[in-house]
Amino acid sequence: MTPEELEQIAEEERGTQAQFLHRVNVCLAAGCISCQSQSVKDAFDKEIANRGWQRKCQSKGVGCMGLCAEGPLVSTAQGALYQHVTAADAGEILDALDSEPVSRLVCRTDVPFFQRQKKIVLENSGLVDPERIEEYVGSSGYGALMRVLTEMTPPEVVQEVVKSGLRGRGGAGYPTGLKWSTVAKAAGQHKYIICNADEGDPGAFMDRSVLESDPHRVLEGMLIAAFAVGASEGYIYVRAEYPLAIKRLRTAIRQAERLGLLGSSICGTRFSFHVDLRLGAGAFVCGEETALIASVEGKRGTPRPRPPYPAQQGLFGEPTLINNVETYANIAPIIRHGGEWYSQIGTEKSKGTKVFALAGRVLNTGLVEVPMGISLRDIVFEIGGGIPEGRCFKAVQTGGPSGGCLPAEFLDMPVDYESLAKAGSIMGSGGMIVMDETSCMVDVAKYFMDFCMTESCGKCVPCRVGTYQMNELLARITERTATPPDLAMLEELCDLLRNTSLCGLGQSAPNPVMSTLRYFADEYKAHVEEKRCPAGVCGNQAEEAS
């Protein structure tokens, strides 16, 4: 494969696409599939065949279009977007291809949900067929890899990433360029690349969507990373709960290998890179890098103390670069447009865009990509469309079990790594759960603590026993049998876990409790002192139980 050959594939693909007068894109990502979008796609195929339109109209399965709440979604080449499409609507939509869109199914795209987004990671999502490499190549895919291989040296690639200001999208926000240069400089014959796709936060589905909608983008990012740091082997650690993502990744790897974009002597150069999948067996802690590495090695997935960091001693004791799915998905555009371009998006310290999975009590649940620095209010009320049923906003939870709940007073805060941390939450991987007045914050804290308790690996004492004790205390508070000393003990345990736990799971497990104690202290007080749940959540539970 040479750059010319790649360009030829792209040309051919564009030519094939141009032959069709019409195109119907049906979302075939997990969200829409769960509301029967596969039968919609089949109905379109059948209808097109019945009409003999095979040369005129193409029906295509594509990735996530974002507005999961209104699925199944179908878009046409004329720019119409249809929501809640059923198999029975196929004929009507095809009839309308030459005229006005079917008004009863139209989903408006001139609304903030679509207008306020800035798509870099998701630029191909909903447009290309994730199961065909030609489509990715047709939208300038693997062009960045070609450029890197033919025009750049590894240090230049690292420099470009440094210049972009990209920070790790897995949650902690470690500067990606710095990580790359550390691995590049680490001594070792054998180096590894790992893609962390063990997305486990409740309510988060960014990585799943990227893998389901545009798997080649992640592969291209990993290839560029491998070239930059001098690695020849890589693993994608993806949780087994994502069967569709796994299937599409496998397809993508096979296709890339067939085209010679993955494997030995890529594009005739001396650069070789082999990538394999490792499936997570359902342990949240395996999202922690050292536990993930242990799991890839075939050991029990438990974290180990750092340093040494994986950049020096990672997989099989060799220098290892480990990044999140979304981080890799940002790489190709950075190389294509330059680090300078990327660094102009976002805030001073948080560059670029971030994909959020908007869930909970918000009108437009789904996947959104916004520039860093946008306010929470814009995300929840503008893009998210606000709270349904005329209820009041109460809190937004970011960062999953490691994050915190932020009340209304933080709505105008810019969304970036520093601001979120200062407010007692974290950016996290991008889960964003909106809550209204029907949510009890103590109950929410208990939910996350229960999660951390069951997901603790049990290696270190503070996390193993501390999360259990905290969960018991929170249970007593929600059952309204707790006393004021219990609250003090809860705070004591928060401090203990945060400072003494071995890994990020235990250290951040108190965050949901601490942030709710800080911003919703009156709710805890009501449960403990007045023995009532202001939101009426805990009361109902107790009555049901009795």
């Binding site: 342990a283 802690v285 029990r300 180990r304 103390p305 340093p307 308790m453 069951t454 997901e455 603790s456 690996c457 049990g458 290696k459 270190c460 004492v461 503070p462 996390c463 193993r464 026993v465 501390g466 999360t467 259990y468 004790q469 018991e472 003990m489 004591e492 345990l493 203990l496 400072n499 003494t500 736990s501 071995l502």
Partner: protein, 239 residues
Amino acid sequence: MSPVSNIKTLKIDGKDFSARQDETILEVARQNKIFIPTLCDLRGLSTVGACRMCLVEIKGTAKLLPACVTRVEEGMEVTTTSERLDRYRKSILELLFTERNHICSVCVSNAHCELQSLAQRLQITHVHFPYRYPKAQVDGSHPRFVIDQNRCILCTRCVRVCEEIEGAHTWDVMGRGIDANVITDLNQPWGSSETCTGCGKCVHVCPTGALFEKGRSVAEMLKRRNFLPYLTLMREERD
């Protein structure tokens, strides 16, 4: 690398010490008779940093670091005891006491138990966290040894000695979080284990009365660990 740069000087509790660069803070502290509490650490076995008892403060680092795995660095300033560290260590010990059923008065290891002596040394007079009182198993199927899960603190010394020294890997950990347990083979009764060599190393490295020899009554189980540094030394010489 020149031999000069292999030696680092550091301060522990305000006093100056020198150390080889491959030594940990804990090793240097022990050489110089500075006490840092430990539970999972045992000389001759690999380090895991799991019990969190040996956390120390290091100037310029916001996080507390485990002395057992943290290597010395030039100019490092380590504090091994402070009000804060003391409080955390006591809390962690208390959590261990609440986790399973540690009843010293009926324990074979009474007066020879590391958990007990550490609690005494840190002057723990009572436990203020609620006890769990879990139902835990006792496996007496082995002809010579018993495992009493009630007294296990999951330090994984048995797992490590079996794998690293004996080479049998009979022991491992099963389950996660509060439900984690050490098991023999694939959670088979110890007596039916096909990998166990019956060497008894696990029994003697166990810090509490969780692993003991049959026929021992209250306070009779003395653990002998001299073999471990000896074996390690002999192997190092052979290498």
